[in-house]
């Protein structure tokens, strides 16, 4: 029931007594932002496109049914673990959506390990699950993605640079490819909130100061784009897949942040490879 602070020499993250994120601070500039985090989901649009009905959400098409995601009321349980090398907060948003927030000693990022699935579909609704961060940054409709895996591109909500957009899909129409990073900038405070991913995902900033990344989908209708079956992988036990991945968050000053994400992105892309072997030798014998 007490507030909890996860902190190293670079960043601190404050949790409220219920396990919700509250405030993220860059300890170099001493600047803080309000931040919340949760796992939410959109119900996929149903429809039978082969009979000329609505375009359903499917493998090629992301089309949520509605503009607001479904959410739980916050983590139903949370547990903190404090140690000399790593601090963790284990959060459970629902029985099938959980997360570990983690901070290693001396590392300039906060790690989020999400585990989602099996997505329940007994209610006959397909679901598309996103991890969401809401910050107090004033972003004025702008956000940035690495899009093609090379240069960073500035995205503007409900806007295209080269034609007049008639936005008919307020959520899906603002989703962009994220190969390794998406970030928000507040020109007024000079702060940047960066999310690095461990895989290519879809990402968006549907509201100013917000970032969301899609992590898992389970859908019940074919989208008529050629696959011929719904994207509904059940896995070996026929219950649906459980997917796990990581995101790495950094808060810093815009002028300094590229130094972090360029270097860190390379480290994650070419991560060390461990291999193991049995032994009963002593160190002296082995060496």
């Amino acid at each position: 029931g007490e507030p909890f602070v996860m902190k190293n020499k670079h960043m601190s993250l404050k949790f409220d007594g219920k396990g919700n994120w509250e405030k993220l601070t860059d300890l170099h500039s001493k600047k803080s932002i309000n931040v919340t985090n949760d796992i939410v989901y959109y119900n996929g649009m149903p429809g039978n496109c082969s009979k000329g009905e609505f375009q359903p959400s499917g493998a090629y098409i992301f089309r949520p049914n509605g503009t607001s995601p479904q959410k739980w009321t916050g983590p139903s349980s949370a547990m903190s673990i404090v140690g000399p090398l790593v601090d963790e907060v284990h959060m459970e948003f629902s029985p099938w959506a959980t997360q570990v927030t983690r901070q290693y000693k001396d590392e300039p990022y906060v790690e989020v390990e999400w585990t989602v699935g099996p997505i329940p579909v007994q209610d006959k609704l397909g679901k598309e699950v996103v991890v969401r961060f809401e910050t107090g940054l004033n972003t004025d409709t702008y956000f940035y993605t690495d899009a093609n895996g090379r240069e960073i591109l500035r995205r503007v909500r409900d806007y295209r640079e080269t034609w007049d957009l008639n936005q008919t899909e307020p959520v899906a129409g603002n989703y962009y490819p994220v190969n390794s990073r998406i970030f928000l900038r507040d020109e007024g405070t000079g702060m940047q909130f960066t999310v690095m991913t461990d895989r290519s995902q879809g990402g968006a900033s549907i509201h100013d100061g917000e970032v969301e990344l899609m992590v898992h989908r389970r859908l019940l209708y074919d989208d008529c784009k050629g696959v011929g079956e719904p994207m509904n992988e059940t896995g070996a036990d026929q219950q649906g897949l459980i997917i796990r991945g990581k995101m790495y968050l950094h808060l810093g000053q815009t002028l300094d942040t590229a130094k972090f994400h360029r270097d860190f992105g390379l480290k994650k892309y070419m991560a060390p490879i461990p291999a193991f072997s049995e032994t009963n030798m002593k160190y002296q014998e082995y060496s």
Binding site: K225, K267, P272, A275, F276, E278
Partner: protein, 182 residues
């Protein structure tokens, strides 16, 4: 010749946008099989290369076969779970020294870890989350905690760490429930 298997699997996968869900399920299984076969072949190549770097067989460790744990992300690794002593070799594909956090699934309550110079490495035990233990792909794996420590690896090289279960007191960490499940 051996790495050609993965090169071809990747070629097929990238050409067809595999692993994105835009294929029939049977085809997705085939893509996964091709990638897994390619990965296995590459691990054999890594093993051969490692043997050349290690001392000659009669002198010791070169006879050891290195095993790769592809399911470390869900805390599953038969070798670290079933052995009280093991060696970990970490290869760094980058052209500069890196530090890297390792999390090894284990069943013991305390371990000692020695770095390449024989110095003791600081470690921490972290219990697995309840969710981790019910992931179907972990069936048969028995780890209850992860052994966490940091390794340092030279550019385009490898570091060797020796891990041994000890009788020491459980070196776990302070944990507390923020709010009970309702």
């Amino acid at each position: 010749i051996n790495i050609q298997v993965l090169k071809e699997a990747m070629g097929v996968a990238q050409h067809h946008d595999a692993v994105s869900g835009t294929e029939k399920q049977q085809v997705a299984y085939d893509y996964a099989l091709r990638l897994a076969n390619g990965r296995n072949e590459c691990q054999k190549v890594m093993n051969d290369a490692m043997r050349k770097l290690l001392p000659k067989e009669k002198e010791g460790p070169a006879a050891m076969e290195m095993k790769y744990c592809d399911l470390l992300n869900i805390s599953a690794c038969t070798l670290t779970e079933q052995n009280k002593e093991f060696v970990m070799i970490v290869y760094n594909p980058l052209g500069r020294t890196v530090k890297h956090w390792v999390r090894l699934p284990v069943i013991g309550s305390a371990y000692s870890v020695l770095d390449p110079s024989g110095n003791t490495v600081e470690t921490q035990m972290v219990p697995l989350t309840k969710r981790t233990t019910v992931i179907p792909e972990r069936k048969g794996h028995i780890a209850t905690s992860e052994l966490v420590f940091q390794v340092q690896i030279p550019a385009l090289g490898f570091s060797t760490y020796m891990v041994k279960m000890t009788q020491g007191k459980k070196k776990l960490t302070k944990s507390s429930n923020i709010r009970g499940f309702v």
